[in-house]
């Protein structure tokens, strides 16, 4: 097979797996599993972004939940804001004509007027980028403990803001968020659309994986990995490490934000629990378990762990489980479970067969 096409093999494999799972689940009449799988997909977007940041740029972030919230809450606010009192104004009428403001019916048949989801999406992402840049510039200069604390602090500030602000719903969060129309389908929680939403979510994830894989194999990806390898040497090679770290920070923020936006539309709302520092810690735990620079490992772990957690299999020990995972991995398998010596041979075999991105091994062409 043409070498350029070979790298798309794992993604196609993944696509088949996604379809297979859906068929199996529907056939066994357990369509409710699809809901948790869909949610897991959106959380996986956050994980993918964090994987790029931690595994490739070598920066830890304990504040990804903050960016998730910025995305989710912004789109929630904009799509539930009540513009009906202003419906007579010229501005609103004009916006309505361009589809920026849309009308919809709520449960009681009342007409509501809010911003269109696609506009909210764009606005939320722009806001995320701005905040990520502002926070990122000072944060990126920090290392180790200080970086962890600063990102944790960022997440906590967002949490406090969300918890204490009236129009963000305070402790109750925002509900009644409408669906997100997408090329004729719609991202929403309605039961009739469960299967299409499952596919939408996983296709979004696969696109994200595709982008991430492209980046890793590109000149920029190489630069990032070199920064992770030795920042000093990278600089000596002419790489502006600060700029690259910032760019990766912003990119991971965008991934998290998009996950937040889409999940908010799927769930029909968002609450402060999505912003808690525990969520951020979970994201880090999952990336660590999967092997920090292992996209597929992170994706696998994210799906499995999020699914189990959402189904409630961990019960009241949910947080404790993730903490325990974090501890075990950091103590015994710092390179992630899928890099542990015994499993390495399996992983190598799989890698040889499918050209997974990952560390260079003997006998394989190093050319990306």
């Amino acid at each position: 097979m043409h070498p350029r096409l070979r790298k798309y093999l794992p993604i196609s494999g993944m696509l088949l797996l996604v379809v297979a799972v859906q068929l199996i689940v529907s056939a066994s009449g357990a369509n409710y599993y699809l809901t948790q799988l869909t949610m897991s997909a959106y959380y996986s977007l956050v994980i993918l972004g964090l994987c790029l940041l931690m595994g490739y740029a070598g920066q830890i972030s304990l504040g990804q939940a903050g960016f998730f919230a910025i995305g989710g809450y912004s789109s929630a606010v904009l799509t539930t804001i009540d513009l009906v009192p202003y419906s007579a104004s010229e501005l609103v009428v004009a916006l309505k004509r361009f589809g920026i403001v849309v009308e919809r019916q709520d449960l009681y048949g009342n007409t509501l007027l809010s911003f269109a989801p696609w506009l909210a999406f764009i606005a939320a992402v722009i806001l995320t980028v701005c905040i990520a840049v502002v926070i990122g510039i000072p944060v990126i200069r920090l290392r180790g403990h200080y970086l962890a604390m600063a990102t944790l602090g960022f997440g906590l500030i967002i949490y406090r803001i969300v918890l204490g602000t009236g129009f963000l719903g305070e402790a109750d969060g925002i509900t009644g968020v409408p669906g997100f129309p997408l090329f004729g389908w719609e991202i929403s929680g309605s039961l009739s659309r469960r299967i299409s939403n499952y596919y939408i979510a996983w296709i979004v994830v696969l696109l994200a994986v595709l982008l991430a894989m492209n980046l890793i194999r590109s000149r920029v990806g190489r630069a990032l990995r070199s920064i992770h390898g030795s920042e000093e040497a990278a600089r000596a090679m002419g790489i502006d490490t600060a700029q690259y770290k910032l760019a990766t920070f912003v990119l991971s923020a965008v991934f998290a934000s998009v996950g937040g936006i889409l999940l908010t539309h799927y769930n029909g709302g968002i609450g402060p629990s999505e912003v808690s520092s525990m969520k951020s810690v979970r994201y880090v735990a999952i990336v660590a378990v999967g092997g920090m620079d292992n996209l597929w490992g992170a994706l696998l772990m994210s799906t499995v762990l999020n699914f189990l957690s959402l189904r409630g299999y961990f019960g009241s020990y949910d947080d404790a489980v993730f903490a325990a995972i974090l501890l075990v991995i950091m103590l015994f398998f710092p390179d992630g479970l899928l890099r542990a010596p015994g499993l390495r041979n399996l992983a190598n075999l799989g890698r040889k067969l499918l050209s997974f991105p990952g560390r260079a091994t003997k006998g394989k062409s190093g050319n990306g």
């Binding site: 920090l142 290392r143 180790g144 403990h145 962890a148 960022f154 204490g164 950091m330």
Partner: protein
């Protein structure tokens, strides 16, 4: 603002400030001996408080507190034995994540032992309603206990580090590990001591503050963040500066109540943390160049 009001805020500020300073000192002790930032520091306070509360139902308060301190010291030693001792030169990132995981684990254990109820330790003297008048402000006698015991802890620690053999051994370790080892000081033992010491002062602080702030299983991380902020504000590793920094933060928070809604008060300390980290990570009293060269 009248003087009475001002003084009320002032006392409130230095009370919480002294607790933050104690947490910060706990951070510094472990950091100085090991280079690790122990994210679980806040949990020591809550654990100590909870144990003290449970024991106080059948032991007199001083005994209950003493027992709580000893037990928490044991937990500190356990953490060292199980998680820290056998790691050889781990990268900083790994340690950061390990102590975060530990703090969550301890918190969740406390949740399962003591559930999410808010508990309080009995006031040491008097009750919740007794008050003492000082310079026009009415305060609970417990406030005096907090200030007094915090002062005692700080003085006792500085004497300990200055005068006792173990204390000086710990300082030697912090300064230059290899040289200390050449003098016959077992570094690993010093590490255990530092964990035990931090746990002890944490537990004591947790008990003395409980009648005022109450104790709930999830309060540890908030305290840890504030304690960390204070530690950084003073300059990481510098416990004298931590006292001053603690009072500064406490007062800042207390007077912020006058100008902003209660829900945002916690954001004040986080904002201070971010400002310090972004603009002067070496802290108010730290050495700029030295900290820039350090590998954090």
């Amino acid at each position: 603002m009248s003087f009475d009001q001002f003084f009320q805020y002032f006392l409130s500020g230095i009370t919480s400030g002294s607790i933050y300073a104690i947490v910060a000192i706990g951070f510094n002790i472990i950091y100085n001996t090991t280079g690790i930032i122990n994210f679980a520091q806040g949990e020591f306070l809550i654990l100590g408080g909870m144990i003290g509360i449970s024991l106080s139902s059948f032991l007199p308060i001083p005994l209950a507190i003493a027992a709580a301190v000893v037990i928490t010291m044991g937990v500190g030693a356990l953490i060292d034995f199980l998680f820290i001792r056998w790691l050889k030169n781990p990268p900083v990132l790994r340690l950061v994540i390990i102590t975060i995981g530990l703090s969550i684990l301890i918190r969740e254990s406390m949740l399962h032992v003591w559930d999410e109820k808010v508990r309080t330790l009995r006031h040491f003297t008097g009750t919740e309603v007794s008050s003492v008048k000082i310079l026009g402000a009415y305060i609970s006698p417990q406030v005096l206990w907090v200030l007094g015991i915090s002062a005692v802890i700080v003085i006792a620690l500085s004497l300990f580090f200055r005068l006792t053999l173990v204390g000086r051994a710990m300082r030697a370790c912090a300064d230059n590990r290899s040289a200390a080892r050449l003098c016959g000081i077992r570094a690993s033992r010093m590490v255990t001591f530092s964990f035990m010491l931090s746990a002890a002062i944490g537990a004591l602080a947790g008990c003395v503050i409980s009648p005022l702030t109450q104790t709930q299983y999830n309060m540890g991380s908030g305290l840890a963040i504030k304690g960390f902020t204070v530690a950084i504000l003073g300059g990481l590793g510098n416990s004298t500066a931590a006292v001053i920094a603690g009072l500064i933060l406490g007062l800042l928070e207390a007077f912020s109540i006058a100008v902003m809604p209660l829900a945002y008060i916690d954001a004040v300390s986080i904002a201070v943390l971010l400002v310090i980290l972004f603009f002067r990570p070496s802290g108010l009293f730290g050495d700029r160049e030295a900290s820039a060269l350090k590998e954090f």
